[in-house]
Structure formats: structure tokens, C-alpha cells
Symmetry: C2
Subunit: 395 residues, 2 copies
Amino acid sequence: MPGPLEGVKVLSFALHLAGPFCTMLLCDLGAEVIKIEPPGKGDPARRNFPFIDGISSYFLSINRGQKSITLNLRDERARKAVFELVKKVDILVENFRPGVMERLGFSYEEVRKHNPKIIYASISGFGQKGPYKSKPAFDMIAQGMGGTTSITGEPGRPPVRVGFSIGDIGASLFAALAILAALHEREKSGRGQWIDVAMMDSQVALCENACVRYFATGEIPQPLGSRHPLMTPFQIFPTKDGYIVLITVPEEDWQKFCRLAGREDLLSDGRFQSHTDRIKNYQAFEPIMNELTKTKTTAEWLALLEPAGIMCGPVNNIAQVVNDPHILAREMIAEVEHPRVGKLRVTGTPMKFSRTPCKIEKACPDVGEHTMEILSGMLGMSREEAENLRKEETI
Amino acid sequence: MPGPLEGVKVLSFALHLAGPFCTMLLCDLGAEVIKIEPPGKGDPARRNFPFIDGISSYFLSINRGQKSITLNLRDERARKAVFELVKKVDILVENFRPGVMERLGFSYEEVRKHNPKIIYASISGFGQKGPYKSKPAFDMIAQGMGGTTSITGEPGRPPVRVGFSIGDIGASLFAALAILAALHEREKSGRGQWIDVAMMDSQVALCENACVRYFATGEIPQPLGSRHPLMTPFQIFPTKDGYIVLITVPEEDWQKFCRLAGREDLLSDGRFQSHTDRIKNYQAFEPIMNELTKTKTTAEWLALLEPAGIMCGPVNNIAQVVNDPHILAREMIAEVEHPRVGKLRVTGTPMKFSRTPCKIEKACPDVGEHTMEILSGMLGMSREEAENLRKEETI
């Protein structure tokens, strides 16, 4: 069975991360993604280390399964080829800074003339409108300006980055969702549209809970280490050999925990009766908990607490995650086949369908690997004509 | 113009966060979401503080615009009403622990008998299959077990939580995307399917870059404070009055920065020539930079660096974010109308459509606010019959 987006065609001008992660999602779902790259070196992300047999692992991960065509977008014949491709696709994705597509001659207004049904998605740091629209942005700018780092980190210490590039991939996820919503709408209206997703906006949307807490109380949310802002314990504690996540949301679970840990004395301590009490008296609570949890290994705590139905889990590092039996059973590690290098490992997709499963099988393309296939197969260009373009470095 | 999912109907069994954030995305996009709640107290998230005039801001934020019907799912007549609703909707979303929907009599197998076209989405901690499937999970369990906290935090210090509940809302985003992909596929096949999205899987997918770095090098990725793992400077530095994000990806930008900062001596320092050098010699690099960036305020740095085209930005707290002129111009703060309480602020949606814009206008429903509307309007139940159900606490 093919994936749910089988038959959907995407033309991608996406480079770096925010655009390619979006087209990766569509590709994982079964869409055919044709990625336009500058002739020669291709997407700058191809130069991001570390490399596996000359292939950037960074590039591989987010460009698996996509097709690559090289086009010098400043050349008139290449521009003509772009418009021919535009006529044959459902979706266009680009993540240049606002204004670049217009200068290249591929604004939404221009592109829709060639295909009024096209869904044209622009992903950028600050969006197509608004006072900051021309400001450049990579991931950390969005994380910093969008509020994310202000609530991530330890209390009283410097702001911390989310360990993955949520500044980019937050926007990628919202853009992919918006694209599929527009695709649904097009089934009825027969019309395309322009989607504008900003990285900074996406951080604000992800910070929704911190924002409404601020609206409700006027207090500016602060970083809390691993603590949850509304409940305690709902966090990471140190153990004899690592860390454990411990969560006792119903008060019965807190009581159960204290009994199992041999600390029934805490149950009669007025400072720790409820979540509200424990948050209020957190300065006193934390050292007591840290000392207690350090008395056993993570495995010992899990063996004690799990059977009692107390919510807990290990804190896994990346090596533990990618070798975890559950993650392997869930097919969350995929092997893709590269024609030159052989099998390479990437993460799988969390989108599991009963009838039309996603398949992650192909590695990333070499620069321009599919240029001839697309020019001749899709656009009907003669081999001679294509060879001429190659000689003149148009492709 | 209505949103792109106008006309799409969603039946939601979703409680807490992972499910409701998913149905919120669909609702923001224009779908009609009917949320089933237990009679009386409703969704436990309604009790999460802080409150605004008795309304949980936590609940408000993710349930805005949805409709609430109360049904005691253990009552046979309520179960009949569920199956009547199932026949009238396109999508069902639930986030119980695996097995609960089956025990209630609403497994996918049972539900599809009443509507073979239904797209049935299950969001859970560990998914419907695999060794951990029956394990309970809240946000921090997924963040901890899925690898996220192991790469978030400061080097050599305890793991840190992502400041928003990415353990939940990561899964919500993937689930919403999978639902719309299945909706697209249904247009052609006429058939529904079962979607299984796990919170832990979703963290692994978000950690893709850390995973492939590990596959490429065998080194376990570590938390790096606010640093990017592949480039330096690409991080937050302290200023005289706060923090600034500073990014110099092309080496020319690093040279420009040193000149503007009056530290051309750094350009001839062999330890700091390239990103690779600066990462290798980071122990020496960081204190020099911290001392340098502290010599000016954030505003002074921005005034110096922005005009030179160096990528930089302030590190905003939540109060600054929600009052930022760009965020306001982007309509990222929405006012919703609550019939009893009046206007309330929530975050907007980053999904901006040129032709079918999303509208965020309505607050969250009261428990069972739409029970009568749905039972009589949608299912054609008489007022008398409905009143009987109410008396018997079935609704």
C-alpha cells in the first residue's frame, strides 16, 4: 500500500532546515517531492557535518526520499522549466527570505498565472507581512525572540536552547498541516492559495500555555529546570546512577510514592500536602526529594514504582533511545538505501496508518540526481536540449 | 471566508492536552469539533490553574472554539448517541491509554461498523503496539524517555525540560497532520483508517538530527546550553542588561562582528578561525565572548549589528513576546468571546492563508454547553427524551 499522499506532487525551493523538514513530512506521507537545487554544490545543508561516506547526515535525515533537479534560477531557460514544473504539481514550498521569490520571478502572483490551483507555501523567520518581515532568522533567533528560551533552562541561570531546532521544525510542522488543510479545501473550491508561516509565530503558538498563564496572572513565566509549572512532583530527579522522571498527579499517587519510598513522614508534613503546597515550598521540597531519589538506581526505582501504577520512566540519552526495544518495535529507526553508500539509518515517522502506511526507504538524492529524469520524463525535453543546458551550466 | 476545514466534523474523546491540542488545530482550521466530556466536572484539564473568572486558562487555550456535549459513556443510551454521532462525523480523536476505547465499546473495529469512512486517530504515550503500550505517560515521561531532555540543558548539569509541553503537543501536531493526510486519501479511496501516534515516537522524530549525528559518529549528543551543535557563534550571550542571540554562519559575518566589536585581534587568533576551530576551543572562546558581549546593552548590540546584516535578536520573555509589535501585527494574540466572562486573550494560529483565513473567535465551552444543540439539532432527539437523560445523569 502506498502512503496517504501518493500521487501528490510537490515542487520544493526549500534549502537549509525549515523548508526541507516540511517537504520531508509530505514525502514521508507518500508525496513526490522535486527539490530544486543550485547547480554544483546544491543545498548548503549538504555541507553540514558530520558526514557518513561523504554524505551529510544532517542533509540525509531531512531530504530522504526526495528527488533533486539542478536549475540555475537566474537563467531564462531554467525559469521556463520551473513554470513547466509549476503546471504539473499541487504544492510549492519555499523558505527564502520574503522578497527573494519575487526577485527570482516566482512570486505567488506570477506562479498562480501558470497554475491557479497551486498551493504555495512560504516559510520564513518572520512571515510575509509585519515590521520584522525582512529580518533574517535561523533557528535560535526564533527560539529567542519567540519566548521559547525564556521558559527553558534552570531557575536563575541563562536561557537554554531546546536541544532540537524547534525554531525551524515548529514552523515546518505548522506549514505541512496548513498545506494539507488547503489541499482539502481545494477539493471543493478548485482553487489554490498562498500560505504564510513564520518561525517566530510558530514559537508563540507552541508557548500557548505560558502566554495564557501570563494573561491570567500577570506573572512572567520563568524557566523551571525539569519541573512542570502547575504540578509537583512532575519532573526529573537524580538517582544513584542517572535520572528518573517521576509524576504523581493524583494525590493518592504521592501518598503511594511516600509509602513505597519509606518516607511516610512526608505525608504528615504540612508543607507538602498538595501540589499547591509543594510548589509553594519547593525550596524545601527539592533537596529532600533529591536526597531520597539518590538512594536507589533508576532501575530499582522503576521496579518499585511501576508495578504500583506510579507514573515514572528513565531519562534516556540518544544512544539509549535509538536502541530502545520499544522504539525499534515501533519502527522509529528506518534504514534507507543509498545507491553508492548502501544502508543508512535515519529516524522513522511517528505517523502510523492502518491502511496506507508510510514507507521510508530511499536515502537523500545526489545533487541533480533526477535532473534528466524530470526534464525528459516529466517535461518531455530532448536529451540534446538537456545536454546543451548542462554545458551552459543552466542545470 | 471560512477556514480551510469548513464542513469537516470531528468527534473528540480527547482530554488533558495531547488530544485537545490536536482537535484545537483542526478547530482553528475551521472544522466543527464536538468534544465529549464526562457529565458533571468534564475534562480534568478544566481544573488546571490559573483561572480567569473561574475559567481555567489552561483549558481555555486548547479548547477554544470547540463544542461540549456531556455523555456518561458507560450508559447504554449514551453509547447509542455516540454511534449516531459517529455516523455524522469525518474524524474521531481520542487520547485514552490503549485498551480504554475498546473497553468502552468504541474500538476502531466497532466504530468503523457504523461509519467505514471515519478517520479514527489515537494519540497515546507509547502507541497501540509495542512492549510499552500499556505504560501510562504524561508530557515529561515522553520528553525524558524520547531523548529530548538529554540534549536540552547546560553541559554537565541536570537534564532540562522544554519549557512548553512538547511531549504532548509534538504528538498533537503529527496526529493532526496524519489525520489530514488520511482525509486526502479518503477523497480517492472512499475509505477511512486508524491512525496511531505515540508521544515517545514523536520525540524521537523531533530529535532526528541528534539521532543521525549519533549514527554518523557514535558520540552521544549532549546538552549544550544555548549553543548549536554544529556552528559557533550560534547561541545566546549575556549583555549588560539581558541576553542576545548572535549568529555568524558565513565566516565573513564573524569577521564583520569582530571588527564592529573592536576585537580584530580575535581574527588573527588561530584558535578561532573557523566554526570547527571555535567549537574545538570553546572552553577558551566562551569567556572571551561573554566578557565582550557584556560591555553593551542588548539594544546597543542590535543597533550596531543589525544594520551590518549580522543575524541577531533579543531574547524575549513571555511579557515581551505577547506585547511585541510584530507579534501583534501578525495577529498572533487573539481575543475570544466568552458569553459569561467577556473577552479573553489566547495565542493565535501561525497558519496564515491568503484565501481561507483561520478565525479564532470563540472561547472554550462550558461543560455540556452544546449537549441539547447536538442531541436535538444533530441527532433529532426530542426535548423530553433529552430531559430524561439529564435526570438520569446520562448526559
